[in-house]
Symmetry: C2
Subunit: 473 residues, 2 copies
């Protein structure tokens, strides 16, 4: 059994989850998967960073997973968006339930009846909470681990309430900054795209999405931020008493990231040899491989001890197994260990360590005296930088800027297409009819693109904005 080449991305992605022990895909229900211990550690590290970012301005909470049908159906546009994919609990034991319970597909309708109780006056605002929970969707399309699931096991959803539309809009910007920090940390390049009005979150005023591009050229939505206006506040009667003594509806936002963040991490950075991980989210950050020759064991292992003393504040592992070094390299490369130290008799004698970075698979030697916490942190930054450069390089090959409507058919099914488009639905449809999905308009220019954000609509010639079409997951 060997890992398929990454060129065959769909198969590679499926197999690496099992090979690298991220998820077991053999659970006997479609769309449900098991997190292996190793995968679970990555998940903890990735979500640990997300928590750290969120905790600065949000409080973590937990709301129930079960939502009564009566609450779920209050916001009509919202329920229309979800009714095809809600799991319904109809029985407890042998008894039918009086009120059916939905397994949360998302938690607006669980939270907002409580927000009504929590919010009294302006001093209670802004309210900013988040939770990391399992959510459920009855997906009838092709399911895929980490990407299209029936149980999203780690949905980070934040919900906020504010005094005005403008303050909620400011929160949208803050949320975007949080998500930028998170994905920059993971070295995942992204496009920040405002979805077309006909493709926004059900119940939102508008939706901003983070989209990245996977190695097969399909885009993956890895985060969304929604301005809800006072739509839900009106439905759930969430008002506050202002300084002027009057009562006003709050304005709300919500924004979420699911384990698709881990799908992008694995899919974008991985290679033919297996996982590639940024240093900070690797369950093992540095692996030491002692190369033992008879009669030299003591010197080598003694030198290893000395090296370990210098890296003990990182997650290291010394592989003392009986296998050949090559077999060990293979295993730890598969698992994405970012830094490997090879230490044999020659190194012990010259007091050097052979270092190999997983991402580049290039070896170099450093003197043991040079190895310290600062050095490792610098390497960590260097690895992140290189990972991001590599990801951008790959993404740019999949992007095609088109400024001529006649060229579009050639690329719209195979590339992520950048083009100028106005905000009229008819012009969007004209493009979509040719086979790509309109993701929307770039809210800002990513650092890896160099185009003007404005130009003439490719369809009608009126004022347009830089838009993106793609095949998407």
């Amino acid at each position: 059994m060997t890992l398929p080449k990454k060129d065959n991305f769909s198969e590679w992605f499926h197999e690496i989850l099992q090979f690298a022990e991220i998820m077991d895909v053999r659970y006997p229900v479609k769309g449900l998967y098991v997190w292996f211990p190793f995968g679970f550690k990555i998940r903890q590290l990735v979500y640990g960073k997300l928590r750290e970012i969120m905790d600065r301005e949000h409080s973590e909470v937990y709301f129930p997973a079960l939502i009564p049908e009566t609450e779920l159906k209050r916001e009509s546009e919202h329920i229309r968006g979800f009714e095809d994919e809600v799991y319904w609990i109809t029985h407890g034991g042998f008894s039918p339930l009086d009120v059916k319970l939905a397994l949360r597909p998302t938690s607006e309708t669980a939270m907002y009846p409580m927000f009504k109780l929590w919010i009294r006056n302006h001093a209670d605002l802004p309210l900013r909470v988040y939770q990391i929970v399992n959510t459920f969707r009855y997906e009838t399309k092709h399911t895929r681990p980490l990407i299209r699931l029936r149980e999203i096991t780690s949905f980070k959803e934040a919900h906020t309430a504010h005094r005005s539309y403008e303050e909620a809009e400011e929160q949208v910007e803050r949320a975007i900054r949080c998500y930028k920090e998170f994905y920059d940390f993971l070295a995942i390049p992204y496009m920040i795209i405002r979805r077309p009005d006909w493709d926004k979150f059900p119940g939102a005023v508008y939706t901003i999405a983070f989209d990245t591009i996977m190695p097969d050229g399909r885009t993956l939505q890895i985060g969304t931020v929604h301005h809800l206006g006072d739509n839900f506040a009106r439905t759930f009667d969430i008002k506050y008493e202002a300084v002027d003594g009057n009562h006003y509806y709050v304005h709300q936002t919500c924004y979420g990231i699911s384990e698709r963040c881990i799908a992008s991490l694995i899919g974008i950075h991985g290679d033919d040899f297996g996982l590639v991980l940024p240093f900070e989210v690797a369950p093992i950050q540095i692996v030491l491989i002692p190369i033992l020759y008879k009669g030299k064991e003591k010197e080598v292992l003694g030198f290893c001890e000395e090296v370990i003393e210098r890296i003990k504040n990182f997650k290291y592992f010394i592989d003392l197994g009986e296998e050949r070094p090559g077999a060990k390299y293979y295993r730890w490369e598969l698992k994405g260990v970012p830094i490997r130290f090879e230490i044999g008799p020659r190194e012990a004698e010259s007091r050097e360590v052979v270092v190999s970075f997983r991402n580049e698979r290039r070896k170099f030697s450093v003197s043991v005296e040079e190895i310290n916490e600062e050095k490792i942190k610098n390497w960590s930054e260097e690895i992140r930088k290189r990972l991001r450069e590599g990801a951008i390089h790959s993404i740019l090959q999949k992007l095609k800027f088109i400024n001529d409507l006649s060229k579009i058919d050639e690329f719209i099914r195979s590339s992520v297409v950048l083009l100028y488009l106005c905000k009229e639905k008819t012009c969007g449809e004209e493009i979509e009819n040719r086979g790509g999905k309109l993701l929307g308009w770039l809210k800002e220019l990513p650092d890896f693109l160099n185009y003007s954000l404005e130009g003439n609509c490719l369809v009608c010639g009126e004022k347009g904005f830089l838009a993106v079409t793609a095949r998407s997951y």
Copy 2:
């Protein structure tokens, strides 16, 4: 609105959850509750300790929340134990499901089909995993936050597999040691009790439980450890290849702790003034209350800064609000902040701090020079010791040792009764018919009891063991 007296325990417990912002009990479905930010922090700290203990010998994993009916029903004794209280998902969107899905009541039947795939030979054993997940029970009895829930939001369940019955039994002992460490950390006294055979976990060979005694004299089961023998292994065909080349069934254990650990923490340590928390699980560990008089603000706040410098590695909060000091004391006592520093002009001048421990509400002064990390850690240990002493004192008042069958009616409905009893079901029933529930036999003597573990059965006079009856939650 004031907190009811703790003598009225049921009302006190319900109200303190809302007053101290642990849980919001107003969610519109019976048996489901919302974790407030403050309560969630306590939960994170308590489960952080549990994770620390588990991580030493277990790997954390995540299995799906949805279990197909076909798997759930494979172990006949197991399903009989749960079938009355399983929530059934019958529809996805508008479509009936081909195979009904159960919301996990516990995860044996989700995990063990995968264990069959994970375990090949003796080198794969022991297998020790755990997860902290939401589980669901359709409770028809009176529900109660943290104690009897329809969604248990944080069930820590561990599952292990071993080569033999004896190795699984050794694991039972290890699990008990883990749980002892956890509850000693929380200063919760417990009895370790082997359940009667007719009251064990469905599918287990035997069940050991941790029971504590709540202030109303009812016992609360706060942990269970089950030896599963090879019962599930036979059902799910989990075998390993031994050194001798033959294939044998594995022997298994499972053990769990739910958020009842937090119910016991709140219920046992709290008092008429609110929460009382061990130092390590307090979201705020030290609160500073500056007592400001006009013209002395600078001295006082300057001195506070100096004090903060000495406690900065702990979770502290300086309350600079406009309220009177008394109102601040009230609020932070309600929230269970373990240590309060009062700092006014007199303290600034004498370079002392007035310290108050939440658990004893006794004040004393210490010189600022004495305040350092070691001192605070000593205080933390002292607080834990005192909390446990107080809890034991209260528990002993609710325990009654009975060595005369004629006396039993007087106490069996009002006390936790210790008595000698043989293991025959008829003798157990004789006692239960008088109104108490037989929890089982003490596996070992708690340090707060001083009786022999053996004596003559109070009913039949044959060899008996120290047993416990109680009204229980």
